[in-house]
């Protein structure tokens, strides 16, 4: 390893070899992991969804994990493997765009045994072009703008013949483009953030440069230039992000309850057990160093264990993807399928998964805060027992990954019905007759989706002004068909306000899906409001979804 590294540094200026590219991407992946949390915070809607940082990071991890360790691997082989890994692991719309970006990057490198400055620039331009073509209606002020700026700057700088300065110019241009995204996209300006996907790409390029220079990607990271409030996100995302920190602490007169109180200001999932001489503490925190400092103040550290939960989670997701049955057969034509139509549905929450499964759908776990990978969706398609498969993404940020999976599934008639939320997804699933083919089912499913309105109640993750709606961090926020429409102090109050915006459509049924955070006493109040205001039957079911205490479908 050391010999490669020093060799790579020496040769860096002229051209990049396969192993050097590999190291660069591994470094970039680590660098992106470390920034994922901060990128997540650049969320336009102040609701827990669209975790761009996590999606990009898992996508790049999938790309870099499988890179050939062979020292003779050519840049063409390395980038091809990179593109393939990214495609399989792509999550969320941003992940799919990154995967396409890497695919363009790899394509421009086909048959090449080394990458010089001018080829690197061409690869970055091809990557940008591929990213643009991945999106039906490209929007400026996004990752696309950043990709193009980086490519152009690389071309301009490549005349120096120096790969490092070519990449460095690309990064600088990306930096500037990210900073300008709010000028191009009013919604970013309103929300007071830069574009998360664009920032993600900037971090990827930065990681590549660090990898090329042999700089550490483990050190502290700079804060992102945006009014992003990490503390609010922190509560929503406790289990997936940050560090699980456990300390065995020895001392005298240790005070568990004051320790617990101080830890709860530093993180979530606080657990303090023991007596006044020996205490074990456990906390999920973004800043394990502060926890250790606190512990040292109070006594002597006996044992310390810090786990990066995000990496664990990425590895877990990766392992799941590779170990799940049929993972490697997903591109083969399934030999024996029954006539008719299977449904693959992306769902979050045990309750939703059980409901979907009870109506015969194959469930891919995932949702607003954890978008499934292309591979997970493709695997579910491979498991379907009917000739036709309809994929229900149930989230706008999953649609692109679902479409990628659709393209991968050769030999099967797979199509995506782009459902925006779980309520639409269930309405569509109930409309399916499995013995009829996809074409026969689609009209009924589409009609069911069109009849279904969805109100989601959640907590605002930070302050924002959107569509003239002033949203305060911690307030209850109602989304009507994915748009923030009402905010206030309580769920019943906000629901009532949202119902006022439903229009004159007539409804017969409302279903309240109780999330993890739902309260038993509040649900009947919501049911009464729905029955009174709409004159509908109300059914309550357990959805078990995180972050959204109540998802209400109105049909």
């Amino acid at each position: 390893m050391d010999s490669i590294r020093s060799a790579s540094k020496a040769a860096a200026s002229a051209s990049l070899s396969g192993p050097v590219l590999r190291e660069m991407f591994i470094a970039s992946s680590t660098w992106l992991d470390r920034h994922a949390e901060a990128i997540n915070a650049l969320n336009v809607f102040p609701v827990p969804d669209g975790d761009t940082g996590l999606n990009l990071s898992l996508t790049l991890r999938s790309a870099s994990d499988g890179l050939p360790a062979d020292e003779a691997a050519s840049p063409a082989e390395v980038t091809a493997s990179l593109a393939r890994g990214a495609l399989m692991g792509a999550r969320g719309n941003s992940g799919v765009i990154l995967a396409q970006y890497l695919r363009g990057f790899a394509r421009a490198c086909e048959n090449q045994s080394s990458v010089d400055a001018s080829l690197l620039a061409r690869m970055l331009v091809a990557a940008s072009e591929a990213a643009y073509s991945a999106v039906v209606t490209p929007v400026e002020g996004t990752i696309l703008t950043v990709a193009r700026a980086a490519g152009q700057a690389a071309v301009d700088a490549s005349s120096t013949g120096d790969v490092e300065s070519t990449l460095s110019s690309a990064l600088q241009a990306a930096h500037g483009a990210v900073a300008r995204t709010p000028e191009l996209l009013p919604i970013l300006r309103q929300a007071g953030v830069v574009d998360a996907g664009g920032e993600g790409l900037r971090v990827v390029l930065e990681g590549l440069l660090r990898g090329l220079r042999g700089e550490s990607v483990e050190g502290p990271i700079e804060a992102i230039h945006a009014r992003a409030d990490l503390s609010s996100l922190h509560q929503d995302a406790d289990d997936f992000f940050g560090y699980c920190t456990e300390v065995l602490l020895q001392g005298e007169n240790l005070n568990s309850s004051s320790l617990r109180e101080r830890l709860s200001q530093l993180g979530t999932c606080v657990l303090v057990v023991g007596d006044d001489q020996l205490v074990k503490l456990h906390v999920h925190t973004l800043n394990p160093g502060v926890v250790l400092e606190l512990a040292t103040e109070m006594g002597e550290l006996v044992r310390v264990k810090v786990d990066n939960m995000q990496l664990q989670h990425a590895e877990f997701a990766q392992r799941q993807a590779t170990e799940s049955p049929g993972a490697d057969k997903s591109f083969e034509t399934k030999v024996s399928t029954l006539p008719g139509c299977s449904v693959v549905a992306v769902a979050s929450g045990d309750g939703f998964a059980a409901i979907f499964e009870s109506y015969g759908a194959l469930v891919v776990p995932g949702g607003p805060t954890m978008n499934p990978s292309v591979r997970q969706i493709a695997d579910a398609i491979a498991r379907a027992d009917r000739a036709d498969v309809i994929v229900l993404p149930n989230n706008r940020n999953v649609v692109m990954a679902a479409r990628q999976a659709e393209e991968l599934a050769s030999g099967r008639n797979v199509s995506v019905l782009p459902t925006d939320n779980l309520a639409q997804g269930l309405a569509a699933t109930l409309a399916v007759n499995p013995e009829v083919d996809a074409d026969g089912n689609r009209p009924q499913m589409e009609a069911a989706v069109a009849r279904c309105r969805c109100i989601e109640l959640t907590l605002a993750a930070r302050d924002a002004i959107l569509d003239g709606l002033e949203i305060t961090e911690g307030a209850v926020l109602a989304l009507l068909d994915e748009r923030p429409v009402a905010t206030g102090g309580s769920h019943p109050e906000v629901l009532a306000a949202a119902l006022g915006l439903l229009g004159t459509q007539r409804f017969e049924l409302a279903t309240i899906y109780l999330g993890e955070l739902a309260s038993d006493s509040e649900a009947p109040k919501l049911a009464n409001i729905l029955a009174d205001r709409l004159g509908v039957e109300v059914e309550t079911a357990v959805g078990g979804q995180p972050h959204y205490p109540y998802i209400i479908s109105i049909e």
Binding site: A354, I355, S358, Y359, G360, L426, L430, A431, N433, P434, Q444, E508, L509, T511, E537, E539, A541, E555
Partner: protein, 279 residues
């Protein structure tokens, strides 16, 4: 006196005519309730049945007629008739047809013609009614069987259930199980066709389910006969008749109540449309 006797079982339901006025012998199935063994239509009427279904803690289960009853009926009828045409509910849903067939073999297979209606309720009833008319017109057993067999593929029955509970308990849900047995409250739309209960659609509300039943029936095209069938929900049925009359372009739609044995499987609140397609 006509030379052909018509036999059916107590699951056949009739419109416009009382079974007693029908020139057909009705063999009762059995409703077993706690310790009571009740002959359908003899020991328990349809009204009594649904009332008890609502109030009794125990659930009834049903069984086909004993083979001895069929043998006795056939033997007696052949004393006074040349032949018997015996028409029964779908063999895939009840053992009655098999029992009748075995009794026919014992008595006189050449003179007893057993027909599987592949339908239930009014569907079988229409066949029986038509067979009885032909018998009265002194048609031969062969002609009657041919006429009935010609009608069978034209029978349709589309309905919705208030609850799936009874169908599940009775084990007659068949291939509908995987389709319907979900975690949400759905009003299933089912059809009885080719002797099987088939799922058609899952609808979340009864009003929606009834709209679908009427719509599916309308799409079947021109019909010789249409009838609304229900189990213990006369008011709903009457309201639904108006809807069906409009969608079928008919002035008036007859109503028939589904008898005890089918009612024990469909449950109270079953409501739907039986039709005989035009030939």
């Amino acid at each position: 006196m006509s030379s052909v006797a018509i036999v059916t079982d107590s699951t056949s339901d009739f419109t416009e005519i009382h079974p007693a006025d029908l020139a057909a012998t009705v063999v009762p199935l059995t409703v077993n309730w706690g310790r009571d063994i009740l002959r359908d239509g003899i020991d328990i009427t349809t009204e009594e049945f649904y009332l008890r279904l609502r109030t009794d803690r125990d659930m009834p289960y049903t069984s086909g007629p004993p083979v001895g009853i069929f043998e006795e009926v056939y033997r007696n009828l052949l004393d006074t008739h040349d032949a018997v045409v015996s028409i029964h509910l779908a063999s895939k849903l009840s053992g009655t047809y098999q029992v009748a067939l075995s009794a026919a073999r014992t008595i006189d297979a050449g003179r007893i013609h057993v027909v599987d209606s592949t339908s239930v309720s009014v569907g079988t009833g229409w066949l029986v009614q038509h067979a009885a008319e032909l018998a009265r017109a002194e048609r031969s057993a062969g002609e009657i069987v041919d006429a009935v067999r010609e009608m069978i593929p034209r029978l349709r029955l589309t309905l919705t259930l208030e609850t799936l509970e009874y169908l599940q308990r009775g084990g007659r849900i068949g291939r509908a199980q995987a389709f319907l047995g979900g975690l949400l409250n759905v009003k299933p739309v089912l059809e009885v066709r080719d002797g099987e209960v088939r799922p058609v659609e899952r609808v979340r509300t009864r009003a929606g389910a009834l709209r679908r039943v009427a719509e599916i029936t309308r799409r079947l095209g021109p019909k010789a006969l249409v009838c609304v069938v229900h189990g213990a929900c006369e008011e709903d049925a009457e309201a639904f008749c108006g809807q069906v009359a409009a969608s079928e372009g008919r002035e008036r739609i007859p109503i028939a109540e589904i008898g005890a044995v089918i009612g024990a499987h469909a449950g109270p609140g079953v409501l739907g449309i039986a039709s005989l397609l035009a030939d």
